[in-house]
């Protein structure tokens, strides 16, 4: 089954190269460590040389990195700006909204994880998780001064674990309700921030802003992208031309320019008197941008549905809406899941482009501005690396999750 090439190629996956490329390391039945070393690192003279050179290089880089992180770096800029990095200027008294959202997501995440079949606790896995947790706890203890925050974080983790336990107990029964829960969760999260006398979007900032923008963009762009994809495949020439034109225009243009356009020129096209906050204009551009890419992904998925499915449906007398709803789209959309996840990861990373407009306070903007404070001049690396890490951690985690989803969806009973 041919999958549409995603924009960034995430479906060419992470992890060990599978597949039969004969150049990859020989199949494993490594008897002893000694044998393994000989086979994989020193199989020939040149291989040995390569191993030595790269090992030295890697060791040097590692030493420099560790030296920097633990000795040279002055992390005061991070400690002082932790809240700004996470939520920008979100008012303190309204933080309960953010925390509630975090708990809801933690619970859902735990439940979803629990519903999946449990993975075996190999030594490798235990060690890996122990390391991750150990480092995370150490870093948090070092950086976070408020014990209240630490306790709230611990509660979130506990909630996730509890969710996993409940999910494991209830099992497959939860699958369908969970899907609905996730779909409802996103509007809920956004509404909770704003609704009931909440915080205006102009005051959302930091990592929170990046997450919200990404979520809103993917959500709203999905139906639009779907319509565009159907439009592109339409047999009505006018509809098709318009769809193709729109999609190709958006895809040919950098997102930053779209954002700048959105904030500095788009308003001219809107009814006079309609004043939208800049962040909303930016979100609209993200939605527009995302829908073009979603359209291409869905189009690929539609192409993967055999013509015979359409024929059988028409022969049975099914009308177009029913045919799309029950026969074509379920198959088409299942094909697109890996590409959609990949697109979402890219979109999340692209929210950092808000810094290009210069008027926003997302994570990258705040990290960039942190060194304007006289106390933190010269600490650019210390200011940027944590931001980089946060983006990286989320993207990496989602990419690995996507791999697992791919395996599951590919091997269904269907």
């Amino acid at each position: 089954m041919k999958r549409p090439a995603s924009e960034e190629g995430y479906e060419l996956t992470l992890g060990e190269p599978e597949g039969p490329a004969a150049q990859v390391a020989p199949e494993a039945v490594p008897a002893t460590p000694g044998e393994w070393v000989r086979k994989n690192l020193f199989s020939s003279f040149w291989s040995g040389m390569l191993t030595v050179v790269t090992a030295l290089l890697a060791a040097w880089i590692l030493a420099k990195a560790i030296g920097f992180v633990f000795v040279d770096a002055d992390w005061s800029v991070l400690k002082a700006n932790l809240r700004v990095y996470m939520v920008g200027r979100f008012p303190l008294e309204e933080m309960w909204r953010v925390w509630t959202d975090v708990y809801v997501i933690a619970l859902l995440a735990g439940l979803s994880r629990g519903v999946q079949p449990a993975m075996p606790w190999t030594l490798r896995r235990v060690v890996r998780w122990a390391l991750i947790l150990g480092v995370a706890v150490a870093v948090l203890l070092y950086l976070v001064e408020s014990s209240r925050v630490l306790i709230m974080l611990a509660a979130a983790v506990a909630l996730m674990v509890a969710g996993a336990a409940i999910g494991r107990r209830l099992g497959r029964v939860l699958r369908k309700p969970l899907i609905f829960a996730w779909i409802l969760a996103f509007p809920f999260v956004v509404i909770l921030l704003r609704g009931f006398g909440g915080v205006k979007p102009e005051n959302w900032g930091g990592f929170l802003l990046n997450v919200i923008v990404a979520v809103v963009a993917i959500f709203v762009s999905f139906p639009i992208g779907l319509l565009l994809a159907l439009g592109r495949r339409s047999t009505l020439p006018v509809v098709r031309t318009f769809s193709v034109g729109f999609i190709e225009f958006i895809r040919g243009v950098p997102l930053v320019t779209l954002l700048i356009f959105g904030v500095f020129a788009f308003e001219l096209l809107l009814p006079p008197g309609l004043r939208l906050p800049n962040i909303v204009l930016a979100m609209i551009m993200f939605v527009v941008f995302s829908s073009a890419y979603v359209a291409e992904i869905v189009r690929g998925g539609l192409q993967g549905v055999p013509e015979g499915q359409y024929e059988a449906s028409r022969a049975l007398g099914l009308r177009y809406p029913r045919m799309m709803r029950s026969i074509v789209l379920p198959q088409a959309l299942r094909n697109t899941i890996p590409s959609m996840i990949s697109h979402f990861i890219s979109l999340f990373k692209d929210t950092s482009l808000l810094v290009g407009v210069g008027l926003f306070s997302d994570l990258l903007s705040n990290a960039g501005r942190a060194t304007r404070d006289l106390a933190f001049v010269g600490l650019e690396a210390e200011a940027l690396l944590p931001a980089a890490f946060m983006f990286w951690a989320v993207a990496y985690a989602m990419a690995r999750w996507s791999q697992r989803v791919e395996k599951r969806v590919g091997v269904g009973e269907r």
């Binding site: 499915q309 059988a312 022969a315 049975l316 007398g317 099914l318 009308r319 198959q331």
Partner: protein, 251 residues
């Protein structure tokens, strides 16, 4: 006085049907009629237009010239006519075209429930009956991928029958099957032929044609070159082209 009375005229009437694909003319004036309850087998080399022809009967392809009338309803650009015609015809495809994401039962009940608006219970009962009839009871909860090719095709036949059609069209139903599964599908088709269903079947299975066909149509290069009862056609073809074709397929 615009519609023929049911029960009087032919079930399917084709008059001078022509069809182009771009510059290529696939059907060059096909005229024939099929009586109620008749079993017509269509043979011919690939590219001869036989597939195109039966697909024009249920509007999977639109004929460019000529007339097609099904059970008194003329097939035009009128949406209502098209839908009425389709509701009287069931079609079985060479590649089955079962819906892979639905169970066997859902495959069969989908159309009755959504087009004829049957209640779920009635549709499921019908599905069970049909599965029984085609010889694979108790498979309603399986997915197509779990069944063999022969079983899948039989499900496809049941799916088409669920709409209670008067006519069944078969487009090379056994060509994609492994040899050992052809028989089970042909048996189902035999049973259908012996009931009073009108069948139009494209196939290479000469044995089947000889046993049940009332008439054989030989298609070549977009027209019906010759037709007649199977006994006559297979043993005594009149046209040069028919002879050549039969030489090739009958060893």
């Amino acid at each position: 006085m615009t519609m023929a009375q049911e029960g009087n005229g032919p079930m399917i009437l084709a008059e001078d049907v022509e069809k182009w694909f771009g510059k290529f003319q696939a059907l060059k004036g096909v005229t024939t009629s099929v009586r109620r309850g008749e079993v017509v087998v269509i043979v011919g080399p690939s590219g001869s237009g036989k597939s195109t022809f039966i697909r024009t009967i249920n509007r999977l392809e639109r004929h460019d010239k000529g007339r097609i009338v099904v059970d008194g309803i003329e097939l035009t650009d009128d949406l209502r006519n098209i839908e009425r015609v389709r509701s009287e015809i069931g079609m079985v495809f060479q590649s089955f075209n079962l819906f892979p994401h639905l169970t066997v039962g859902d495959n069969i009940t989908l159309a009755p429930r959504n087009v004829r608006h049957w209640p779920k219970g009635k549709a499921q009962e019908k599905a069970d009956q049909l599965l029984q009839r085609v010889g694979i009871p108790e498979q309603a909860d399986k997915y197509p991928a779990q069944l063999s090719g022969g079983q899948q095709q039989r499900v496809a036949i049941a799916r088409a029958l669920a709409m209670e059609p008067k006519i069944m069209l078969f487009d090379e139903p056994t060509s994609a099957l492994d040899p050992e599964m052809i028989k089970e599908v042909l048996e189902v088709m035999l049973e259908l032929a012996r009931s009073d269903m009108t069948l139009v079947v494209i196939t290479h299975e000469i044995g089947f044609a000889k046993e049940v066909a009332d008439r054989v149509l030989f298609f070549d290069e977009g027209t019906i070159v010759e037709e007649g009862p199977p006994a006559e056609f297979f043993s005594n073809p009149k046209h040069e082209r028919s002879k050549r074709f039969l030489d090739q397929i009958l060893v």
